[in-house]
């Protein structure tokens, strides 16, 4: 069972755990990514997230389906990312997985976040205490050239 979304609303870890719940599942893993107050030695006040909504949902779905193929079709899988300007401490992404046993949940949950970071069309612009802002360099999606 897959739930993916992008939203401007505050992320709710309990909603993720509610989705990742089943009487047959003895394990649930939750990952929360949050805005950090420092990056590369610069003091960060906020991060603005830009993303491609349709493609993001499509790729989130692909990543979740891959996790289920690898660790079990009975997994409950959750992947939601924020959009807009977030202050330090706010959650930018939540991934969660439940499964019969803990090993599958741990591995699948990590797979979701690691794949999301290198495949999902999401960009972040950091805002610093000195008033400057900068788009963060990332992973190229270009396949050839």
């Amino acid at each position: 069972m897959i739930h993916v979304d992008i939203t401007e609303a505050v992320l709710d870890p309990l909603a993720a755990l509610s989705h990742c719940s089943s009487d047959a599942h003895g394990a649930a893993d939750l990952f929360v990514g949050r805005v950090r107050n420092i990056n590369d030695g610069r003091n960060v006040t906020a991060v603005s997230y830009d993303l491609h909504p349709q493609l993001c949902r499509s790729i989130f779905g692909e990543i979740c389906a891959e996790a289920m193929e690898q660790w079990g079709q009975d997994l409950h899988v959750y992947l939601v990312h924020r959009l807009g300007r977030l202050a330090v401490g706010e959650a930018s992404v939540i991934t969660a997985v439940s499964s019969g046993h803990r090993d599958d949940s741990f591995k699948a949950c990590r797979y979701l976040i690691e794949q999301m970071k290198v495949r999902a069309p999401i960009w972040k612009q950091e805002h610093y205490t000195d008033g400057d802002s900068e788009w963060i360099k990332g992973h190229a999606l270009r396949n050839s050239g």
Binding site: L55, P121, W123, Q125, L141
Partner: protein, 84 residues
Amino acid sequence: MNRSINVRLFGAFRQSHPESSLTVEIPEQGRVADLRQAMEAALESENARSLLKASAFATDTAVLDDQDPVPEQEVSILPPVCGG
């Protein structure tokens, strides 16, 4: 004969082009490589042209290779990603 392609801009491309999209002309049977060439001519800043080299083009459902045909009248240009 050419056709117009509207290219949606994301991430750092918005910094140099706040209008959020650019329209360029490519040959009727043009491929993504042709679109890349047209974008290089259309982008105004050196930073944006440099970013173009590391960027991919995509529809709403898939990332395209340079040899792929341009399938729609609107595509997106995706600079390197960094979610989370």
